[in-house]
């Protein structure tokens, strides 16, 4: 386990260096210079780098089958058992547990005010919000969550997305965001519970992470995924574009 961790870190640090040395493929644009005037001259190659396209397309199809035939039926069963209001509470709980990641990345981006907001949210929601199942910080104190992850932090400091990668089950990502996810594990309490063998029973940890995944899929991912895919003429391209643009927006925020 230790050697694996060590290897992962060496790999991520090397990749971080590599990616930081690669300039961002898109320059900062002002509000009105979006693509209004230049769309007509855009070449067929958009700015998304996809050297693994053959593998990615294959994995996209595999994931689609897994989503359709395994995750969607599972999450429909979950919807039947667990009302959306409860799903929202479960979502709040895991969002609260994920505070260290957002707090840390806000700090890394020198967003002091947002980091403080994240800290306050954690204190309020863990106490008044009964262990994070409710979000009084937002409802009563109007403290908005500031979603940040390491992929966004790298983007904030000018790292481009790098090649597009479709991971099994997880789905769309890029080299930058993959490194981000690996690094973010350092902020994830459940990851450390696993590494440090805090829990005697691995099954508990597995069950907790399954609940998190199924809830997330039912509560947020399924509808978004279906909406994109059902309206698409070229689903692979549509999902890729949506992923890249959505990440761009999150980095700019």
């Amino acid at each position: 386990m230790k050697t694996l961790l060590k290897k992962t870190w060496v790999l991520s640090i090397t990749s971080i260096l590599l990616i930081l040395l690669t300039p961002a493929s898109h320059a900062q644009i002002t509000e009105f210079e979006d693509d209004y005037d230049d769309y007509a001259y855009e070449t067929e190659q958009n700015s998304i780098s996809d050297p693994l396209v053959k593998y990615n397309q294959f994995m996209f199809k595999v994931n689609h089958k897994i989503y359709k035939h395994l995750f969607t039926p599972l999450s429909k069963g979950y919807d039947f058992l667990i009302p959306k209001k409860v799903q929202s509470s479960v979502n709040n709980f895991f969002t609260n547990v994920g505070t260290p990641q957002r707090f840390g990345n806000n700090l890394l981006q020198l967003k002091w005010k947002y980091a403080l907001t994240e800290f306050s949210r954690f204190v309020i929601n863990s106490t008044i919000g009964i262990g994070g199942f409710f979000d009084p910080a937002q409802a009563a104190f109007h403290l908005e969550k500031h979603d940040e992850d390491l992929g966004q932090t790298l983007g904030h400091y000018g790292a481009g997305p790098g090649p597009y990668i479709v991971w099994p089950i997880i789905g769309p990502s890029t080299l930058r965001d993959t490194i981000g996810v690996i690094g973010d594990n350092a902020f994830d309490p459940t990851f450390w519970f696993g590494v440090l063998d805090t829990f005697e029973e691995d099954e508990i940890l597995f069950a907790v992470s399954m609940v998190e995944r199924v809830n997330k899929y039912s509560y947020t991912i399924r509808d978004n995924y279906d909406r994109i895919i059902n309206n698409a003429f070229d689903p692979y391209t549509s999902l890729q574009h949506a992923y890249i643009e959505n990440r761009k927006k999150k980095i700019e925020e």
Binding site: Y36, A40, K84, S88, T237
Partner: protein, 201 residues
């Protein structure tokens, strides 16, 4: 008497013209959304057999605030220039129907979602209207309406949902299909989709 009538008529005309001139991009969006939500909440239009009527009425409200020719042009990108006038016309018609079905299809399942106007940024003939869409379970979705003044009327040429441009998303797909296959193949796919949509209705 006649003069009075004329004066009040002039006054009315003046009033309406100033109101029209003050109609900002944001106000058009807010006004249209308010009217649309009223329609969707109308108890007389709730039953399943009223669904088609409700769609028609909603389309009467929505159609004028979109510029579908501009949307079609931007969705095709540089391929637009290679099209003949007849192809352009046909593509615009077919693509408008696709979008119509996407938007109206979403309205069928309306269950109390809200749209909140945040602010707008306007530069002469272009404007961005920032809004939040609040789902019934409290999720917040950022939606930006990109608008342009076409013959003195503000119309939408793109809707950006959570940073993803609708037109841009279609453009990457259409580009990919045209490059791999052809414009004719794309037209066929669009027509097939329209046909399927009509069958569902």
């Amino acid at each position: 008497m006649k003069n009075k009538l004329l004066a009040s008529l002039c006054f009315c005309l003046f009033l309406s013209s100033t109101v029209h001139a003050q109609e900002t991009a944001g106000r058009i969006i807010v006004h249209t959304i308010e009217q649309s939500l009223e329609l969707l909440k109308d108890p007389k239009l709730q039953s399943d057999d009223k669904l088609i009527l409700r769609r028609e009425k909603l389309w009467e409200l929505l159609e004028p605030i979109f510029n579908f020719e501009e949307i079609a042009k931007r969705a095709l990108g540089h391929h637009w220039r290679d099209c003949s006038p007849a192809e352009k016309k046909e593509f615009t018609e077919v693509f408008t129907n696709i979008l119509k079905d996407v938007y109206l299809g979403r309205s069928d399942s309306y269950s109390g979602e809200q749209i909140i106007y945040l602010n707008e940024e306007t530069e002469e003939t272009r404007s961005k209207v920032y809004t939040n869409f609040i789902t019934t379970d409290g999720k917040k979705i950022d939606i930006i309406f990109s608008m342009k003044k076409f013959a003195d009327i503000w119309q939408i040429y793109d809707v950006i949902i959570e940073g993803v441009s609708t037109v841009g998303n279609y453009r990457t797909q259409f580009n990919s299909i045209i490059n791999k296959e052809s414009f004719t193949a794309l037209m066929q796919q669009l027509k097939d989709k329209n046909f399927k949509n009509q069958e569902v209705q």
